[in-house]
């Protein structure tokens, strides 16, 4: 999973060596391309600090899109309302609650199931595993409507549970962790059974502590997926009670005039949690996406 992290370690030779003019040109070129690519995000952050939507639109076509004369945090203050037309404080908290429950629950449920499938003694494990791999191909988009009828029938519509329970356990993540578990040397499992530990003890105190990389991968992928959910919460939430921030931001577009200042501040708030995790675990983020790809 960490295949690409190692070769990407900072190269010894740097552009500061005098003979490497080509290197400097390359560095400048890459910097310019990177700046162009990231500029929409800069425009977003700068825009969220502007006084109102007229200012944002007036500046948008000029270089002032990258500059703000009198930065204000008013747009962010406007967000901290928990009732009213667009209670963004509430949406953000809802998203965080859904995120933490889904990721923590998902990591434990998927890893427990993967442990039993990899090292358990229950009969029929190979069949279950094959069924899970087959189910993995079903796209979320093609099951959301029947899922909505099921959720309505069991009385979970417009709830947090409706946004957490269906996405905690996932064939893909069980399979990812399973592939990690089966590579763990048998001696480790044997040593634990000799001590008389039951399956849960072995899973909890032997396997979990040495599986941090794959658990982090699952947490990151599941976290991003949960944070960005849109179609499902759009259908399952009818009130502000459990509505996540993604649907809240999208509702800016429903009306005739879009309050770009508020929409941009809300967007920045939606990005901040992801950015914090990204900065802290950048290397793991990238390798997570790779492993999801290679195994998929």
């Amino acid at each position: 999973m960490t295949v690409i992290s190692e070769p990407l370690s900072p190269p010894r030779r740097t552009a500061s060596e005098p003979r490497d003019i080509g290197g400097i040109i390359k560095l400048v070129a890459v910097s310019i391309i990177a700046l162009v690519i990231v500029s929409p995000l800069i425009v977003l952050v700068v825009g969220s600090l502007k006084a109102d939507r007229f200012q944002i639109l007036a500046d948008m076509g000029t270089f002032r899109a990258f500059w703000v004369e009198n930065p204000t945090l008013q747009n962010f203050r406007d967000m901290w309302v928990f009732s009213g037309a667009l209670p963004f404080g509430r949406y953000l908290l809802n998203s965080l609650v859904i995120l933490f429950c889904t990721v923590i629950g998902g990591v434990f449920l998927n890893s427990m199931a993967a442990f039993v499938l990899a090292w358990g003694r229950l009969p029929g494990r190979a069949v279950i595993l094959a069924a899970l791999v087959a189910l993995y191909i079903v796209p979320q988009e093609s099951i959301v409507l029947p899922l909505l009828t099921i959720i309505n029938r069991i009385g979970l519509s417009d709830s947090f549970a409706a946004q957490i329970l269906p996405f905690m356990a996932s064939p893909l993540y069980i399979f990812l962790i399973y592939q990690f578990f089966i590579q763990i040397p048998r001696d480790i499992y044997d040593a634990a059974t000799v001590d008389g530990a039951g399956p849960f003890r072995i899973y909890w105190s032997v396997f979990l502590p040495i599986s941090l990389p794959v658990l982090a991968t699952v947490a990151i992928l599941l976290g991003i997926e949960t944070w960005n959910q849109y179609l499902w919460p759009l259908m399952v939430t009818q009130t502000d009670y459990a509505r996540p921030i993604s649907v809240g931001i999208a509702s800016f577009f429903g009306t005739g005039t879009v309050y770009w200042n508020n929409a941009m501040a809300a967007s920045v708030m939606m990005m901040i949690p992801v950015l914090i995790f990204y900065l802290a675990f950048q290397r793991w983020f990238v390798s997570s996406f790779i492993s999801s790809a290679v195994k998929g």
Partner: protein, 306 residues
């Protein structure tokens, strides 16, 4: 996974029933959730597609209508337009997104200071939520004074009229393509980076000995070595493209004049907005078989190679 690894836990000492119950307790929660919220809805979509069920049940019970829904869908002009649009989107987004991803990967695969930093920067759009991307790009596409129209004016020396990117039937899909590619290329980029790093240096050295220039090395060493990566990237991007929904639902609602209507948006309108669950399920099943077919193509190509 060989049978060896699958039965890794077998023939240990005397099986403890307590242990088996524990195992059951560890496995069941996941299986129950997957059965209830993935398998059951998947199977029931096949049943619902054969009925005239509504999202909010009517007093009259739903009726079995055979293949009526499929017939309705397949004779609906809007459905074919949605399918055509998604195909159009795929054909446009594939070269833009994958080409750009490959170009950046090639750039980052060279000796370069701060390479990890740049890789982190180039990956930023990929962790940006599509809803946020819509907020940003809607302002970039502003008519008539947004940055894209300003650039257009400068490049054409003021000759070109400003374009209503999201509101003009001719430009709505290219605009959606552009913002989608910007958001998603980071993923293909890191896949290509991993692929590039798997190419042995000795291949390039051999090519150098044969007197190959950089361009020849790219076409005769890099590209053939990336064949597997290309297949994977194209398949994944195609599957993603067929699920196009969020940006279209937020920015254009399928308009103008149906030019950005997509399969998932068509399904969403039929099933959720118009409550016609049977009809929408038929579309969902068609979408599933398209995704399945594309994945099978991948399996075949990859197996072929091995």
């Amino acid at each position: 996974m060989s049978t060896e690894t699958l039965t890794a836990g077998r023939h240990r000492r005397a099986p403890l029933w307590g242990g088996r119950f524990q195992e059951l307790g560890m496995l069941l929660p996941s299986l129950a959730l997957i059965a209830a919220f993935l398998l059951l809805p998947f199977l029931s979509s096949f049943r619902i597609a054969l009925t005239n069920e509504r999202l909010i049940p009517r007093p009259v019970p739903a009726r079995f209508v055979g293949l009526d829904n499929f017939q309705k869908v397949l004779t609906d002009h809007d459905f074919w337009q949605a399918l055509w649009n998604v195909a159009r989107f795929t054909v446009m987004v594939l070269p833009v997104q994958c080409g750009f991803a490959l170009a950046i990967a090639l750039l980052l695969n060279q000796k370069l200071p701060f390479r990890n930093f740049f890789r982190g920067l180039f990956f930023l759009p990929a962790i940006t939520s599509m809803v946020v991307v819509c907020v940003i790009w809607a302002t970039l596409f502003q008519y008539p004074t947004g940055p894209f129209n300003q650039i257009l004016g400068v490049v054409s020396f003021g000759m070109a009229q400003p374009i209503d990117w999201l509101g003009d039937p001719a430009w709505s899909m290219p605009a959606i393509v552009l913002l989608s590619a910007w958001q998603a290329y980071g993923f293909q980029m890191i896949v290509y980076l991993a692929g590039l790093q798997g190419i042995s240096d000795s291949l390039y050295e051999a090519a150098s000995l044969d007197g190959a220039n950089r361009w020849q090395k790219f076409w005769h060493v890099t590209m053939p070595s990336l064949r597997q990566t290309h297949v994977f990237v194209l398949i994944i991007t195609t599957i993603q493209a067929f699920k196009l929904f969020t940006q279209v639902n937020i920015l254009t609602q399928g308009g103008p004049r149906g030019t950005t209507e997509t399969l998932v948006h068509y399904m969403f309108s039929a099933g959720f907005v118009n409550q016609r669950l049977g009809l929408a399920s038929a579309v969902a099943i068609i979408l599933f078989f398209i995704v399945l077919a594309v994945s099978l193509v991948q399996r075949l190509v990859v197996r072929d190679r091995k």
